[in-house]
Symmetry: D3
Subunit: 278 residues, 6 copies
């Protein structure tokens, strides 16, 4: 769903970074004619994300390389599962290998960590959403991986939704004034979210008719009260160092959205490797 | 040590990604004249990396913003430590905040994870080195962070050293032939590394006069034998899913280099936050 | 409010397009030392937009050029008004002149055309908003000019709000299904707009709880009915070949938003010229 | 005739501007498999320009989309004329639609406005030419559209012909000195044009052997005298706020070239729309 | 006279090419505080070109580096002449050295080779001009160096003058038709050059009123006849493997322009070196 | 072996430089349908380099152009040899011609000059290597051409090997300290080269265990002594204004590597031309 040309920009950035003067080993030792087959294998269980991008890395080096996928983005794989098979020019496969793996391992890591939280809250009407704590240059890919893992996206960036924080409130004078000033100036297609630190501020935000209210680092007890006070007048979002240990309790408070930074800022790559057939 | 213009490329990529049409909230609610002060605070202990890049993000948005650092790259900080103070145009500080934090948190995470391994092996004559398992577009920054954490770099990319693997050996016929063919063609300024899976291959690689030999997924027992067989004729590098649990035992085998992927592919961001003064 | 570096990208694109091999006339006839003064004068009345960008063109060619503005973005100027005065290196002024004027004339044209519609609807609680019918590469500048003229922005692009049209409805089966499917998948920070062609579709869209409903090419009579039916449950937007002749009647129907393509796709540049002092 | 890669640069700039994070509506509601047909229809009469570029937008999103054109660049179309038919992946058609229309509408608007002036001067041996008052980043496309409309191009930019103005003359001392200095330094492949404000200056320019003389804001009476004085020794170009009202009288004065800014700086987009078949 | 930003693009391309991961030697061995002085010395005699660009390389790495030039572009220097002195941060000087020298040596080589031909033809009213046989990406710099050496530029590229060759004539049918078709379509600001291989073709080109006629690989005897036939009706340009051995005789034939490829395609770099003060 | 996308970047830079507004002559005189055949002919003897890149220039303008090569990179050709035949759209062939020739002539020039030195030293166990004295933006292509000519590459850039010079030694205090500090900090995959000016320094460098020692501007007598002193403990490289006159004597001294700047900084293009078939 991301523009192919934007994906290509990322891949080419990575390939140029890895081969500013070619792959000296492969260029010397492998002929242009040699062909290989290799299997893409999961060495860890988790959710796969990035198959098309993985494939694109090879295609950009050699359009004749073929990849058959046995697993697709969103599939939960087990250790030893063969995700797909690559065949074609050995030279190109060797040159693309690391870059392609770096991308699919990272995206699958994000999908897997997201999915862990999603499964933790299964059956509860709550969304796990991402944040803007993403890697420079990779935000669209990382937010895609969050969706693959069953999560949802928060705003993409500073341009597409209003998020009023402490500093903004101070500058304008009150939550009410800030929300009103925002509503008076933003596109009518846009929503306003306010970050609140306590229930008084929540009350103010509700009166100001904020569309979304972020409960910053509140206890689950406070969250429950917030849900009761809000009574459906705004979307409530929990935020602040949420982990797989705490997510379920938070989900049970009745808030609608839980935003989690670690699924993009502290990703554990999913171990996936390429095994050449003898 | 990285070209300023290359760092700027990364920062601008991130800023454009985050503000394709500006920061709608800040642009509406904050005036150009408003100024603020904010403290950069460690919420976790670890090694700081990326202070200059952090600062550059703000400078690129507004050249008059001032940052005083109390901690520098390489310092080990404690929870609550104030790393620095920022003062200047509120608008620019708010716009730069997330991008600047995303970068310093990631780099400090890498430095910290590297440093954990380095301290684990303190006193043992061994290097912790990185791999090519880095984030697309960020390799130079990430490799810098590894050095800040007390680690060393492996080759930067496929162009600057030879690494002969399984496939290369197969293509040419033997380790000996592969090493000789490489030596005959590469710049005289370059070294040749061979990846071996057992001690027979090690023997072959030694005979072929490889400069460096990577012991792939060997047991510590095998490594000790390898050290004994090698007897200083080549640099030995241990590789394969090395963690803080296993690194010390490996270090004690006598090999010279331990390469670790997780310090760049599975980074836990160091928690650092910006706190505005009231 | 737009990133300086994004503005610079546009200006440099224009300067390189105009001077791939320099300004042959000026390079030959004017010395580096010669300095000039010039006045920026309105040859037509209207709303000025783009002063900072105008200035930036000169600064990028020669940082020592000084510009004093007597009018600012948003000011309504009369024929003959002096907008500002430029002084500095003649060579740089001559080279920047055309590019700088091309930009300020276009942006001021947009602001003026927008402002004409805004003044036409003065006192009526309705917004004049833009569309995505902008010039390739200039969307952020053009949307800025709309705001300067007193208008508002619609969504910036296809990524930041949902707009369900005919084809989308067909694909999913009904307005209801389309809105529900969208709501279930988009970020919670995003709104859903539906384009309807008649009052039955309006009814459907309201039941589906669309946030915004676009009335496509309806008569003012239909619009009034739509307002009555909607009764505040959604934002109503009128759309379709709206001009300064028809905008007032439409505004009086009670809809909240009028989107107009011609303020960006058929801009009459505001006549502004640079007059060198003898 | 423009490099495909330069056209692609413009299109990709526009597509990335419109889809920094994809087309959220279409990505959610339309499947990859769905296909559509749509007709490109003229809603206004005029000259079509930009068919190939229009097509390229779709091709860049999906190479399998097919477009059959019934009208080509340069054709004068009537209201309701079907210009072409598009068939292929619905998703890609919807994503490309606005960008493709923005371009073809603008270029056709330029071709049409140019053609209006050309037809106004039919039978008179005079050229309608453009100026450098073009849109940043689109000059080559806009100058192409002028040619499609039956007009001619003036110099492309500041590098490819000399144009001596007031300031240049002042700097050097006289028209004679300026022309001579230019001729002595420019490539022998280049011409020299001088801008004159009265007939004395014209006389001077002729004596200096200028190749082209621009008559700046002269009356038709002055122009006739200029033609008589010049007597074929130089090309005469009329310039200064020329419109469809005044162009014919100017053409009849006997000058050879009329340069017109409004055909590129104040373009009325030609109304063209895409209608999907049910 | 070239846009600073275009020069910077070339320099940054070169610096990134030379330091994709920094200057490993200097980064390790030299501190940030160390400063140096170095002299720029001519090791060969010739014409200097590129002083400003040379300086810019250092400035881009460190804005505080100072360079004083004792010689400027266009000066003829002798072996041992000190061209300038550089002082500032040692680290930056060492990193910029090679890139800066590569540029100034090449440009000075071009200026010197051009100047040799210019001096060879001193006193004869003829121009030495360049061709399009330039280095990819460096055309504007190389054409600048030709001017510094006392030469003139031919057309900059395929867009700014017409050059009718064999193939074009074949396609249209005759020189007359080709020239007429060109004149009828090109901007009125542009000239038409025709390449002819014999005196019959010259006659045809003159009748077709070509502005410039290139005599391709003619003998000096033929050239003299050509001059006599042409009698000032067109500019005559000699072309074809011209060297310092043949240029004077050709100049004496009376043709006006001699175009020479080797001054840009076979440049002997001028030996210039940087000598650090102890 | 260079990334296709990096080659394309160079070619597109050149094509855009040569056709910012198209090829005015060809666009007017040649139809889209016209096709041609042309032969690529050597006008000088030498080693061909750049066939694939030559071909790519045409392909980028028109994918249907076909080229059959009769000679390949590395072949030594004679005057009059037909290197290949091109057939396809005349328009594209004419537009690509100059850019394609500029590249292949330069690369073949490098290969030929390199090969002259290689043949001069035939039978002697010595390498001819290049330097960093390459053209901005073309280093990878030029270093490729050196290899085609039978030469070898020195380090690619400042990032991939250590080269300790005078200034570095001064900064640290001694050759020994400099080498040790470098070894202690660089990747274990990297070598250390030291530049020495006399035999005392050579001795020091050997004691410091430098991997490579560059003998800067030594006499052949000194070189022979150096070889004897070194006795295989380091690779010896001769450097300093080496030409085809001096290379053989130097080769006979027993040093292993001779680095030569002129094969890239003072290239004589190999004369190759495109001849269209009638």
């Amino acid at each position: 769903m991301i523009l192919q040309q934007k994906i290509d920009d990322v891949i080419l950035l990575a390939l140029k970074e890895d081969m500013n003067y070619g792959d000296i080993t492969t260029d010397i030792l492998i002929t242009n004619e040699q062909i290989s087959k290799a299997k893409l294998i999961a060495k860890e269980k988790g959710v796969i994300a990035g198959c098309e991008i993985f494939q694109r890395v090879f295609k950009l080096l050699n359009g004749t390389i073929e990849i058959i996928f046995y697993k697709n983005d969103g599939d939960y794989v087990q250790i030893g599962d063969v995700l797909g098979e690559i065949s074609g020019q050995t030279k190109a496969i060797l040159k693309a290998e690391r870059t392609a793996l770096n991308i699919i391992q990272r995206l699958s890591g994000i999908a897997t960590m997201t999915n862990d939280l999603v499964r933790e809250t299964e059956g509860i009407p709550v969304r796990i959403v991402d944040t803007r704590k993403t890697t420079p240059g990779l935000r669209d890919l990382e937010k895609y991986a969050v969706r693959v893992g069953g999560g949802y996206n928060h705003r993409f960036n500073l341009s597409d939704a209003v998020m009023i924080k402490d500093n903004h409130i101070h500058a304008v004078g009150s939550i009410k004034k800030a929300v009103e000033k925002a509503q008076a100036n933003i596109p009518h297609t846009m929503k306003v979210e306010v970050e609140v630190e306590n229930l008084d501020q929540l009350q103010e935000a509700l009166e100001a008719k904020a569309d979304i209210i972020m409960l910053d680092n509140m206890t689950t007890k406070q969250m429950k009260e917030a849900v009761s006070i809000t009574d459906g007048q705004a979307i409530l979002e929990a935020s602040g160092n949420i982990t797989d240990k705490t997510v379920k309790d938070i989900a049970h408070t009745g808030i609608q959205v839980i935003s989690v930074g670690l699924i993009t800022h502290s990703v554990k790559a999913l171990d996936i490797s390429l095994k050449f057939s003898k």
